[in-house]
């Protein structure tokens, strides 16, 4: 692997590095986590992302951003990638990349949509689909750091099979009475499902979210309609807009 000396004149510059895929974990039929060993990685905060760059043999390159899924405490860096059917990058990452392959990346990036133990709680996390990834980093950090901050995750998925991190979320919630995970399944529900079965709306948030007087730290990540609807409903319910942080993604070429 080629390395490049850090230019002393530009402290804090984000250099491209080559990580090695340690493990590929199937999360759902379309979603995989890439667990990476990244030499010289200087750590990150929960909620940050990395830029990934792919280079073909003739020098053709493409870049995309992916949220970091692992906690700062974890030994390796993980990203979770949802396969976009006609995408250029995500099919390569989810189907071609194998343990032992190199992956070029730089980061961590972003300093606003982040949560650290010292910020306390209560935490309100609202996710749609793979928007759960940066929020999972927060929940993993919360567990690994022994934060006792009360936390709720409201997680919208199309079906039970498409719930990313389903088992781990269940384990985390079972082991921690201050963590509550609430699912809504918008397209299909398993037999006997008694949970929410519709898109996130104001009524659901009134039932699930801490009251505005508790001043929750709110992080919302998902497709734009979910983020817009959730943020607007929370403001309507009386939450301070300054306490609501949003991050979005859309299938724009993934």
């Amino acid at each position: 692997m080629a390395t490049q000396p850090r230019p002393a004149a530009q402290p804090g510059r984000l250099l491209w590095r080559v990580g090695e895929v340690f493990e590929v974990v199937e999360e759902t039929p379309t979603t995989k986590s890439l667990v990476l060993s990244v030499p010289g990685w200087e750590g990150h905060k929960a909620g940050q992302h990395v830029d990934v760059r792919l280079t073909a043999e003739d020098g053709y390159q493409v870049q995309r951003s992916y949220s970091i899924a692992s906690a700062p405490e974890d030994e390796r860096l993980a990203i979770t990638v949802d396969r976009i059917e006609d995408g250029e990058v995500s099919p390569y990452l989810t189907e071609d990349l194998m343990a032992g392959d190199g992956l070029e990346l730089r980061g961590p990036i972003g300093g606003y949509f982040v949560w650290e133990r010292g910020l306390g709680g209560p935490l309100l996390l609202v996710a749609g689909g793979s928007g759960v990834v940066p929020l999972m980093a927060m929940l993993r950090h919360r567990a690994a750091s022994g934060s006792g901050a009360p936390a709720k995750l409201l997680f919208s998925s199309r079906s039970q099979e498409e719930v990313i991190y389903r088992d781990e979320l269940e384990r985390l919630a079972e082991a921690d009475e201050k963590l509550e995970v609430v699912h809504t399944l918008t397209r299909s529900q398993p037999e006997g499902w008694e949970g929410y079965a519709r898109r996130i709306d104001e009524e659901m948030l009134r039932e699930v979210a801490p009251s505005p007087s508790e001043e929750p730290l709110t992080f919302i990540c998902g497709p734009t309609p979910l983020v817009e609807a959730t943020a607007a409903a929370l403001v309507e319910l009386g939450h301070d807009p300054a306490g609501v942080k949003t991050e979005r993604f859309g299938p724009t070429g993934g």
């Binding site: 984000l14 951003s65 390569y92 071609d96 190199g102 606003y112 942080k245 979005r248 859309g250």
Partner: protein, 202 residues
């Protein structure tokens, strides 16, 4: 650049037909993704105004109606978001910043755009004058939607799109450069997509 690194088995789709239009590291999208750091503010037009403050003899203020009465322009430009998408030939309507600054005497060399919701972004004055920047209130012939920055947003298409501040309410003219919201959070202070100035130090 990590010299010589090749992504094993990656060929790529090379689906960018307008390569000369595409800055490094960008891809073309036909959609119009929405990105913002918090809830979309909704200020009634009766309460909306646009102000010029800072290093000028007298602050200036336009109500929504007064702003609509200013000479407007049709602008067609490519836009480039730091999150990697570019969109070609976007059509806007609005007021040139040259028009707003027309009669203003200032010693300022920088501006900070300020917005509903508390967002700010900083630019050299010369990057918002000379036909390079607008306050846009129409997109594709329609009033600009709140999610895309309506009622009005700054439009500075030659820089990464976070400089085109949504929900803009005014410009503060400054003698010194003051990093804005993303510029204080690790993003590049200037943000030229053609030099791929995404993050600090790029």
């Amino acid at each position: 650049m990590v010299e010589g690194f090749i992504s094993r088995g990656f060929r790529g789709r090379r689906r960018q037909p307008n390569n000369a239009q595409l800055p490094p590291g960008q891809y073309e999208t036909k959609g119009f993704p929405v990105l913002s750091a918090g809830p979309t503010p909704h200020v009634p037009l009766s309460e909306w105004d646009f102000t010029l403050v800072g290093e000028i003899d007298e602050a200036k203020r336009w109500s929504w109606e007064e702003f609509q009465a200013l000479p407007s322009e049709e602008i067609t430009k490519d836009i480039h978001c730091v999150t990697k998408w570019s969109k070609f030939g976007t059509r806007w309507g609005g007021v040139s910043v040259d028009t707003l600054l027309g009669n203003v005497e200032t010693s300022a060399a920088y501006v900070t755009a300020f917005c509903d919701g508390g967002y700010t972004t900083n630019l050299p004055l010369e990057d918002v004058t000379g036909g390079k920047a607008w306050v846009a209130y129409a997109y594709d012939g329609e009033p600009l939607e709140p999610a895309h920055g309506g009622p009005a947003r700054l439009l500075v298409p030659h820089l990464y799109f976070w400089k085109s501040a949504k929900w803009v309410r005014g410009l503060s003219l400054l003698s010194h450069d003051e990093p804005g919201f993303w510029e204080s959070l690790g993003y590049h202070n200037y943000g030229d997509p053609w030099r791929e100035q995404r993050y600090q130090g790029d």
